[in-house]
């Protein structure tokens, strides 16, 4: 093991910021300069994982004995601290990701993150996520309980809102009563460290077990697979590339450990000729905003537009092409993203997609790639649906032009599972038959169906599904965003059969523990006490 030096950042294990056990280090890159940042982060050896797991098991036992309100207090305190530390967090995230400081990082993503923690805290406090169910006649009561230590692997594209130590999976796992072992995304380790510092302080302030939140920066692939499949692990949340996610899934599945994955998605947008004839310019504007925002680096970026040939479609294509050309290419998150985008575009061209604008090599002075628009026909798509669904993560999109609505429907029938699917039709209702046919094919393929709206906004709503059929995620029944839905992923269903009243968890006793907790009592949802 190399000797740790002052520049190698410490890991957070069992409540201590201490030197990592590591065999290698890495640095993040400032994508605006394509230059490595100074701070070095350790690639932890298994020993760090092992110690984190032991500490997490102990924390999980302690957390089970604490009232939910204590956990909620921690989350709320942490949220306040994130808000207070805004300036330094935004500076760090900007340096590591190149995402805009304002409004994106400071005014959109950071408040979303602290508010997401507060919403999860509220669900934790009421227990409304836990589906308390009481059958007085049978003498059986059930509820979702904590599952045990949760490993969270965050993605590169949201340094706050999906960060492994502050984002959606983190908030859900903690609110469900579990400790988290966070694995930083390698593109923004310093931002993750700064967040973890706030989390650690908030833990101390609220008296939660110190190992409720732990942080390592990176492991070998083999140790990552060992971590998600370890007997001490309760479950894993992962957001990122398909390849790495499926390797973790294989390991977790084999060990019988739940793993929730958010992988790739091309997010098809179907637009009928009548919609374009009616409000083509408006739709062009909505599409351009959605597809180029954040340099297209959203899980729900509209990477495929499905059209039916004709005059209005030709006009749409010409207009979008112009706007792709005239819009400046945004900065990408990292050299890896630029390289991957370039490689995906090359693949799509090799499969026969026509390059309308963009393509080429990544810029050298910063992490960037030309806004890229590609086109193919639905019949070509149908000849190689897998190839044409290659995700080009970033400021790129593929237009698929069908001969007819029927052919467009056939193409949709060959789509893989996606997070979202959009349908734009005429507002005057003149193409309701087409709308109906397309919706029927599209709905089973997507986690969220949108009408007359682009997919990039992901509201934190009880009705949100940020999920979808495989391979968009690993299971079609769970959402990664939305309170209380996202919490149940990290719960274990427990039924209490004839259990003596004084031994029941508070949420299952006759008295409603908060006076506002929703429980399914003898077939009726109510906040009342059990009579």
């Amino acid at each position: 093991m190399p000797t740790s030096t002052a520049t190698v950042r410490p890991v957070l294990i069992a409540g201590q910021w201490r030197d990592a056990n590591f065999s290698d280090t890495y640095q993040a890159t400032d994508p605006n300069k394509n230059e490595r940042l100074a701070a070095e982060f350790p690639v932890s050896s298994w020993q760090d994982c092992d110690e984190a797991l032991n500490a997490a098991v102990d924390a999980a036992r302690q957390l089970r004995k604490l009232p939910s309100a204590k956990i909620a207090e921690f989350m709320e305190r942490y949220a306040d601290r994130i808000d207070a530390a805004k300036d330094s967090l935004v500076e760090s995230a900007f340096a590591e990701t190149g995402l805009g400081k304002s409004p994106r990082l400071a005014d959109v993503e950071l408040p979303r993150t602290s508010n997401q923690l507060r919403a999860a805290a509220k669900a934790c406090r009421t227990g409304n996520w836990a589906m308390a169910t009481i059958d007085t006649a049978a003498g059986i009561r059930s509820v979702f309980e904590p599952l045990g230590p949760v490993c969270v692997f965050g993605p590169n594209n949201f340094p706050f809102a999906f960060n492994s130590v502050s984002g959606g999976d983190f908030a859900a796992a903690i609110a469900a009563g579990n400790p988290v072992i966070a694995k930083a995304n390698s593109s923004h380790p310093e931002t993750t460290r700064l967040l973890a510092e706030q989390a650690a302080e908030a833990l101390t302030e609220t008296g939660l077990p110190a190992a409720t939140v732990q942080l390592i920066y990176r492991t070998s692939h083999a140790d990552g697979e060992r971590l998600v499949s370890d007997a001490r692990t309760g479950a894993t949340g992962y957001t990122g590339s398909r390849g790495a996610g499926l390797a973790l899934k294989a390991a977790a599945d084999k060990a019988g450990k739940p793993i929730y994955l958010e992988l790739s998605s091309v997010n098809p947008v179907a637009i009928t000729p009548a919609a374009l004839a009616e409000r083509g310019d408006e739709i062009v504007g909505e599409f351009i905003t959605s597809v180029l925002m954040g340099t297209g680096q959203f899980c729900t970026n509209p990477g495929m537009v499905m059209l039916v040939k004709g005059e209005a479609t030709d006009k749409f294509i010409a207009s979008v092409t112009d706007k792709f050309k005239s819009s400046p290419a945004g900065t990408l998150l990292s050299p890896a993203v630029a390289k991957s985008l370039s490689s995906s575009i090359k693949k799509l061209c090799d499969f026969g997609a026509e390059l309308l604008t963009g393509g080429g090599e990544p810029e050298s002075g910063r992490c960037a790639y030309a806004n890229t628009l590609l086109k193919t026909t639905a019949s070509e798509f149908l000849s190689n649906p897998e190839g044409f669904q290659t995700e080009a993560f970033g400021n790129a999109s593929l237009l698929v032009v069908a001969d007819s609505v029927e052919q467009l429907c056939a193409a949709i029938g060959h789509l893989e599972g996606n997070l979202t699917g959009c349908l734009y039709t005429a507002k005057d209702g003149s193409d309701e038959d087409a709308a109906s046919a397309i919706s029927f094919e599209l709905t089973p393929k997507v986690g969220r169906l949108l009408n007359d709206k682009m997919p990039t906004g992901v509201a934190v709503s009880a009705a949100m599904n940020h999920g979808g059929p495989y391979p968009a995620t690993g299971h079609p029944g769970f959402t990664a965003v939305g309170v209380p839905g996202s919490l149940v992923r990290f719960g274990k269903l427990t039924s209490f059969d004839n259990v003596r009243p004084n031994r029941l968890p508070a949420i299952l006793q006759d008295k409603n523990p908060t006076g506002e907790t929703w429980r399914l009592v003898d077939g009726k949802w109510t906040t009342a006490e059990v009579a």
Copy 2:
């Protein structure tokens, strides 16, 4: 392919009872005589699976267009038909399983089966399983929708209530709006065929797609794995042995297809000395009834009893041993079950368990094995926890005697996931500390915790969890029994974002579709219309 003959039973595919494509046949055994029954059943080739999958995809599309009430009507009609066909079903099930005609088959299991279908029909009709969620401010509404064709593999021990064509998984999959491809359990194919005949008639009578229910009797292992991982399959429900289940799980996981498994479980029962001192005879009686009922062939059979050494425990062991000796050994379901039980007992003895009574070889004139009671110490258990958790499915149980409550808790800490865990303590509350310590360890290990009650009853209740941590099942968040909970396994979460009101599924429109459907509207559960 052998020419089919009059004695080879037909499969039910795409609404037709037709000759199977098969390479081999098999016969069930009458376990009371240890003799093969006359009827021959085909081992279908992939062609049958392929045709069933195509028909199921088509049926799934048609079902999505039908109102839930139509599906509910089918299930209710089918339930009535099962009740009407009771005599022939009971005769067949008795011949194939040796389970008692009355009360077990005729008066307990058959009514449970038809009532389970009716309960699922009710959940289907109201949509109360589908968790309709409406966020009026965000304009987002979500609901669980059908997932697509469901393959169901039923177990040997419940020819009606868990039958792949009439049992819990079947009812849940159909009620969630999915067609079922049923794979008969090889121990009772004729009973399964008779049930499928009733299902097919009920489909015709209620106008549902004929391929809503299809039946094959057996496939090769490879074709089974292909079936659960096929792109056309939505999900799989499996109840049975761990080995076969894990092979299917590996195939399904790799393809990203949900699979719900109910595998093995030893169902630990912890009994404190104070409970035995207080009411030892009573507990002996409850245990004997539970462990020998149905010749111990329940998923929730109490296969392990955890005790603390002492006088009351010695008396309990002596009394249970006497009762095991004096009770007649019941008939086992099949030669395979007798062989497997004998093999498991041998293993446990090899690991060092002491044989208190029973053991030996299976009987030859019928499928049976001596009532078998084994004993070990908690310290021996702790030296080989995996070995001592070998499931001995049938009329057998292992007593684990600890030196202290602390040691008993340590042993529990090494248990695998189980369906159930029971705790018997003194009713006078004198050992509440022990109860608390044991419960704390036992709860995370089990899907259902019981107090002062044996685990073999599995009520169909909204609060029932017939599930549990791996390897009892494949996921700790789902139940295989209980309406509406079991249905959500076969649902896909879909969010409708800004979708035009007229295009929303009925359950998500402002008007409550039945007037009694529970929906989470703006954070409150209600049956009211959206204001």
